[in-house]
């Protein structure tokens, strides 16, 4: 039996959860509807039947309760993996995540570890109604004590999930829900690179597009389209938002001399601005144009009948590439 399997991202996550449940009896899943139903995205499908109702716990409908009790279980030596049903419903748990989960290790002077993993299906383009398409990563990234990762393909989804669960720190996994059905190869034996590092996934020489999660395939398609105009675009999959691998991003930017950062979340106060500032600090003199951001607008996520205009797509990325090339250095 080959260790390399073709899987969609959702099933790669299922496989990762199954493998961790099997590896450590102290790993538990908890969340709304994750048992018999297998979660609203079916990511936990079959796991309750396999591991029992005590390992795959259908919780009461209470997000703060899910995270708060996960903290208590983690303090006692368990490794809870909490599922929040949708991005827009993480806010009732915001307090537990930011004031308790993120700070417990620090407040106890390192005595208490809280290895809680929070799975958060996030992002838009699924044509849903409000509160089902948001990208709250910046709100969490601003809080020290949390780790935040976003896989963009099945291989990463599998290994990042496993690495998140075994990490002694709290980790939020942003699962790009519009990519749940994206197919790819998963090498079940050889881990993907460190979950907390960025990766250059396409080499180029003229400009870099750095992005994560749902927009990675868009960036790859934009790079492909740019080839027709003889522009060679490098693509960096950021993968980890906290810690941010600004070194890898800056190295790519210094090489291509132009950087575009893209994410679905609004640009104002977002991760793109943080990356722009960090890259400017590291590689200002190497850049031929300012770091440009492509992202959502300063508005609540719009009704999804308008999301095609709100979400960054290939054209918006290419427009940013053009804009980057339009800057002239004054003598």
């Amino acid at each position: 039996m080959s260790a390399i399997k073709e899987m969609v991202m959702a099933k790669a996550i299922t496989a990762a959860l199954r493998d961790e449940l099997a590896a450590d009896e102290k790993t538990l899943l908890i969340g709304e509807d994750i048992g018999a139903l297998g979660g609203v995205f079916r990511v936990t499908e079959g796991l309750q039947a396999e591991f029992g109702t005590h390992r795959v716990i259908d919780s009461p409908l209470a997000e703060s309760g899910i995270v708060g009790t996960s903290i208590g279980m983690a303090m006692r030596g368990y490794r809870p993996v909490a599922e929040i049903q949708f991005d827009g419903f993480v806010f009732p748990a915001f307090n537990q995540i930011t004031t308790q989960l993120a700070k417990m290790h620090n407040r106890t002077d390192g005595r208490v570890k809280v290895p809680v993993t929070i799975r958060l299906p996030y992002g838009g383009h699924i044509g849903s109604i409000e509160h089902h398409s948001e990208s709250p990563e910046a709100l969490f990234a601003h809080t020290a004590g949390l780790r935040i990762v976003a896989p963009s393909n099945p291989q990463d989804a599998y290994w990042m999930t496993r690495q998140a669960i075994v990490s002694d720190d709290p980790v939020i996994i942003l699962e790009p829900k519009r990519r749940y059905w994206l197919k790819g190869k998963v090498d079940l034996e050889n881990p993907a690179p460190d979950a907390f590092r960025a990766q250059v996934i396409r080499e180029g020489t003229d400009a870099t597009i750095a992005t994560y999660g749902p927009l990675v395939p868009v960036a790859l398609a934009a790079a492909e389209a740019a080839r027709a105009e003889d522009r060679s675009i490098e693509v960096v999959d950021i993968r980890s938002i906290s810690p941010l691998d600004d070194e890898t991003i800056a190295r790519s930017a210094a090489k291509t001399q132009r950087l575009i950062v893209a994410h679905e979340a609004p640009t104002f106060g977002g991760i793109g601005g943080e990356i722009a500032a960090r890259v400017a600090e590291r590689a200002h003199h190497r850049l031929l144009s300012p770091v440009l951001r492509v992202g959502g607008f300063h508005m609540p996520y719009p009704p999804s009948s308008q999301e095609h205009r709100y979400l960054p797509d290939i054209d918006r990325m290419l427009e940013a590439v053009d804009r980057s090339f339009s800057y002239q250095r004054s003598a």
Binding site: G65, V67, I71, M73, R76, D109
Partner: protein
């Protein structure tokens, strides 16, 4: 609709007379004279610590103090009735409980002197760190109790030990309005957790009276979640002990969660930053002064022949020393180093933390160099 009054369980009247109670008296009968004196000792110790901490704050030696004055019986009675292996999740005012669990005054005061966020090891004392975000700890308590049930299932906790282990979630009357308190009780009921809720109704949430949090006695909440609640006179250490002893034994035996509403009074300010004269009457304060938990117990101990003048004099002397030691240790307290704060943000290395820590080191080294240069030049 008028809220229904629920008479709290009381064994010791404010005059210090012991009343018979069919259900609860037997729990008191089990206590020997030494144990009875022990209860007094911890109540007196908390009161002394409280007075000293208040004065240290007034002298600018503590950033803040949250007195537990008046709540000594509620806390000591309850914690004395459970086992040292039971995990307690306190708020920020459970000083008597902390002392009872062997946490030193110095450890207790680190947070209030703001030299560290926490002074004690929660596992060593089975006493979690103080939580300032109201009611957040009630969910951690529920999670801990879920962990107990998991341990049982895995067999890593033998049935005997499981019968030995319950969890206590402390919460104030004001904090019962928080969503987390509700969610915790839902989880506790649904999973039949070995969890005892200990509500100290000290009548005020800063300036807001309990009736704004609930029109019905807080004890009635339990019924709504499907478990039992008992209202107890929190200024009566014997009743506090008996009620907690009975309920905790039932929880150990597998009865699921229970709740205590301990009716007491915060005799002092909410914290040293508060001015209670703005929101409550001196008549009310006087009324509760007449119900002082320590005076009441002292009267009875003496009348029942469990303690003589020599004992009280000895306790007094001991706590005079405690106050002096406490002052010395507070003034000598060393602050945590900011480097250490960097080091505990995460368990595992984190790039941004490391970079910022290195930057600060360089930056501060620059000043040190300047100073040496200036020193040489001068």
């Amino acid at each position: 609709m008028q809220p229904e009054e629920v008479q709290p369980v009381q064994l010791l009247t404010p005059e210090g007379k012991l009343a018979e109670n069919e259900v609860y008296s037997p729990f008191i009968a089990e206590l020997g004279a030494e144990q009875l004196r022990e209860l007094y000792r911890y109540m007196a110790m908390e009161r002394r610590l409280d007075a000293e901490a208040t004065s240290l704050q007034r002298q600018g030696q503590l950033a803040l103090w949250a007195p537990a004055l008046g709540q000594e019986a509620a806390q000591v009675g309850t914690i004395a009735a459970i086992k040292p292996s039971d995990m307690v999740f306190p708020t920020y005012r459970e000083h008597a409980m902390a002392l009872y669990r062997g946490i030193s005054p110095e450890e207790l005061l680190t947070m209030f002197r703001a030299t560290r966020h926490t002074g004690w090891d929660p596992r060593k004392h089975n006493f979690h760190i103080y939580t300032l975000v109201l009611a957040a700890q009630t969910l951690h308590a529920a999670g801990w109790a879920m962990g107990i049930n998991q341990d049982l299932r895995l067999g890593s906790l033998s049935r005997d030990r499981a019968e030995d282990e319950i969890v206590v979630a402390c919460i104030g009357d004001g904090a019962t309005s928080q969503g987390d308190a509700h969610e915790s009780m839902v989880f506790a009921a649904s999973y039949e957790l070995p969890l005892l809720y200990f509500i100290q109704n000290n009548h005020w949430a800063i300036s807001v009276p309990t009736r704004t949090q609930s029109r019905s006695p807080l004890v009635n909440r339990a019924t709504g979640y499907g478990f039992e609640g008992v209202r107890v006179d929190g200024n009566d250490v014997l009743a506090s002990y008996a009620v907690a002893a009975k309920l905790s034994a039932e929880i150990r035996a597998g009865a699921g969660p229970k709740l205590i509403e301990s009716v007491t009074y915060r005799m002092g300010a909410h914290t040293t930053a508060d001015d209670p004269t703005k929101y409550r009457s001196s008549e009310e304060e006087q009324l509760w002064k007449g119900r002082d938990p320590i005076a009441r117990y002292q009267t009875w101990l003496r009348a029942a022949g469990h303690a003589d003048e020599g004992f009280f004099a000895e306790v007094d002397a001991e706590y005079k020393d405690l106050a002096a030691d406490m002052r010395r240790s507070v003034l000598a307290m060393e602050s945590i180093d900011l480097e250490r704060v960097f080091d505990t943000v995460y368990s595992e290395p984190h790039r941004q933390v490391e970079t910022e820590k290195a930057w600060l080191k360089d930056y501060e080294a620059g000043f040190a160099e300047e100073q040496t240069e200036a020193g040489t030049a001068g």
